[in-house]
């Protein structure tokens, strides 16, 4: 994509989105996990003990890094 115009591939922006959201979701999950460890706050969401935000955030970060690296501006596409 963007061969005529040399546009940054949309996949790079997808990577940026994943990376930013991964960091925010992971940070939120970790802070909640540590808060849970020190208190017995009631959780609204079912299955909160699985700490889904932590591993989902980590997955988003990995995907974001892959997309940003593979489609970074200036990299020659095959």
């Amino acid at each position: 994509m963007g061969e005529k115009h040399n546009i940054i591939p949309v996949w790079f922006f997808v990577g940026v989105l994943f990376l930013a959201y991964g960091v925010l979701v992971l940070a939120s999950g970790l802070s909640r996990w540590s808060a849970d460890a020190t208190s017995q706050n009631a959780q609204n969401d079912v299955l909160a003990h699985l700490h889904a935000p932590v591993w989902w955030g980590a997955l988003l970060i990995v995907l974001g890094m892959v997309y940003c690296g593979a489609f970074r501006p200036g990299r020659k596409a095959n």
Binding site: I7, I8, A27
Partner: protein, 569 residues
């Protein structure tokens, strides 16, 4: 649409966003605006602005193609339908989409692409002349902009109920954001946003089925819980309960699904609705244009995971029974269409909740961007250029497209405020769109496959098919006895009626087109080259390897479709 209005009842909103959730929402707005301003420098010519320079890869065009149909109301509505009707709702994602996408890629796309048309009405102009094209363009432009406004209002209502956001705030902030980035980057911006939205929706919603199946102990555990909660009802089989109208909650017979949905309605939507076809026209070459809908078909096949399965899981795990949508729901009661937000709240804490909500907002904005970009193209190329100002410069038409985007958005906002005052307007607009799609499919397909079809035949067929659709709709609304006649059973519900309405309107269109064609004079062959099957050389990729042939992937999609039908029979 009353579904959404039902949610207006004065009730406490479902979700309270934390700071991190808000940061996720705000980041999305900043990113799409930034992308819009970045892309503005590339949208200089008409081909850039209206067709994204015709340089999208098959993957980008394919994702945008399927994403244009993956709006927020679609997600909320079909998850609600899955709760109400069970897995029957998946027919609209499988047999009601995949064959049509494969047909578009393998049979119809070459004609759209080779003719170098900017739009579906543009193809009709080349094939049939200004009458059929004008009728199609006017109805499409009018309905697209009305739909955009109605969806805008409906989504603002969802935001009010789910988040407690002010309706005016939601409508103005989201529509002005869309206006800025589409007016700046044209179809480039719309497609970039649709691809972002596609990933956001998947990663915002995929945790619901994952955690839901974990909670229920897998598919069999979910089925057992549904049977326990709703004894005697079959929510998890697709074809078995359709041997009669009364044996399934949708009130539909398998003939309605096969002949109404699969053979007509879905074909009409996926192959002639310019909103989705425009995404494929942006492909960089004919092979990419053929592959794009086929790539989209594989993703479409997977969408029930994040739409239908959450609805089914809702039947299994939600402590309350959801009720039909109504404007007067008592406190504590929730309607079918609220099943997706309820499941989101059930499994997603801070952070993940923001991701899910942003996915809904993104879906809404991408849908609006799709509507206004398609409207701008059809207005500029199919109405303004042929009927108002024929010989202007390319720069002038791009400028017109930009103004159309802004004006279209303001008309949409006006429609949204009208819809706010009139519940019936929303219902009519929702139904009106279906009036034009089924007969249009008959007109376009006959025009592509049979060179004898005449201009008069095409126009009169389209007109009579549309008139049939409208007439049947009002007859069935006015008196249930017409439902028994045209939908074949008095037990046929709204969706089933729509299927048969499509079937009869397309049949009328085809019959009238053929009859008129037989008594009128056809166009000479030289005027039909590149437009009709028997007079067009379509590259068949004969020397390409198997994995590079669109026909291989198209057949694979159909085989997977059959396997899914057998699994969930």
């Amino acid at each position: 649409m009353t579904a959404i209005l039902g949610m207006l009842a004065a009730r406490e909103h479902l979700v309270r966003l934390s700071a991190v959730d808000l940061a996720i929402v705000i980041f999305y707005f900043a990113l799409v605006l930034g992308i819009g301003f970045y892309l503005k420098r590339f949208a200089k010519t008409g081909e850039d602005f209206f067709l994204a320079g015709r340089e999208m890869t098959a993957w980008v065009a394919g994702l945008a193609f399927v994403s244009a149909n993956l709006g927020s109301l679609e997600l909320l509505g079909w998850a609600g339908n899955a709760y109400q009707y069970g897995i029957l709702a998946a027919h609209w994602y499988w047999i009601g989409a995949i064959p049509a996408m494969v047909l578009l890629g393998l049979v119809m796309m070459p004609f759209y692409y080779i003719s170098k048309t900017h739009s579906v009405p543009g193809y009709l102009q080349l094939r049939y002349g200004p009458a059929a094209s004008g009728l199609s363009a006017v109805t499409f432009a009018f309905m697209t902009i009305l739909m955009s406004g109605v969806n805008m209002y409906a989504m603002a209502l969802v935001m009010k109920v789910v988040l407690g956001w002010d309706i005016n705030f939601s409508m103005w902030v989201s529509s002005l954001t869309v206006g800025v980035y589409v007016a700046a980057g044209g179809l480039f911006s719309a497609i970039f946003n649709e691809v972002l939205q596609f990933f956001l929706i998947w990663f915002g919603a995929l945790l619901i089925p994952i955690l839901g199946l974990y909670e229920t102990g897998g598919w069999s555990g979910m089925v057992a819980r549904i049977q326990q909660n709703f004894p005697g009802q079959d929510f998890t089989h697709m074809w078995g309960p359709m041997h009669s109208f009364s044996s399934n909650p949708m009130g539909i017979h398998w003939t309605g699904i096969v002949f109404g949905l699969a053979a007509v309605q879905s074909m009409g939507y996926w192959t002639t609705d310019f909103l989705v076809v425009q995404r494929v026209l942006s492909a960089k070459d004919i092979r990419s244009a053929k592959m794009a809908p086929i790539i989209g078909s594989f993703f479409k096949m997977a969408v029930p995971l994040i739409v239908i399965l959450p609805g089914l899981l809702g039947l299994a795990v939600l402590p309350m029974h959801l009720v039909p949508n109504s404007p007067h729901l008592p406190p504590g009661q929730h309607s079918f269409d609220e099943v997706l937000p309820l499941m989101l709240v059930r499994y997603c804490g801070p952070g993940l909740l923001g991701l899910g909500i942003t996915a809904l907002v993104a879906g809404f904005m991408a849908g609006m961007a799709g509507n206004v970009s398609a409207f701008a193209t059809v207005w500029t190329y199919d109405l303004y250029r042929p009927f108002i100002k024929k010989d202007a410069t390319d720069k002038h038409y791009v400028s017109m497209g930009r103004w159309c985007t802004i004006i279209g958005l303001f008309v949409s906002i006006g429609t949204a405020y009208l819809a706010m005052r009139s519940e019936s307007l929303m219902d009519w607009v929702q139904n009106l769109f279906g009036f034009f799609i089924a007969p249009l499919f008959g007109t376009v397909l006959l025009g592509m496959l049979w060179k004898r079809v005449t201009s008069a035949g095409g126009f009169l067929g389209l007109l009579s098919g549309t008139a049939t659709s409208i007439t049947l709709f009002f007859l069935m609304k006015s008196d249930p006895k017409w439902v028994a006649i045209f939908a074949l059973s008095p037990e046929a519900k709204g969706l089933a009626q729509a299927m048969y309405q499509s079937l009869w309107s397309c049949t009328t269109c085809v019959v009238v087109t053929i009859l008129v064609t037989l008594v009128t004079k056809p166009k000479p062959d030289q005027e039909l080259r590149g437009l009709v099957y028997s007079l067009t050389d379509v590259a068949q990729e004969e020397h390409a390897s198997l994995f590079h042939k669109p026909v291989f992937w198209g057949m694979l999609a159909l085989v997977l479709l059959v396997i899914l039908q057998i699994i969930f029979w």
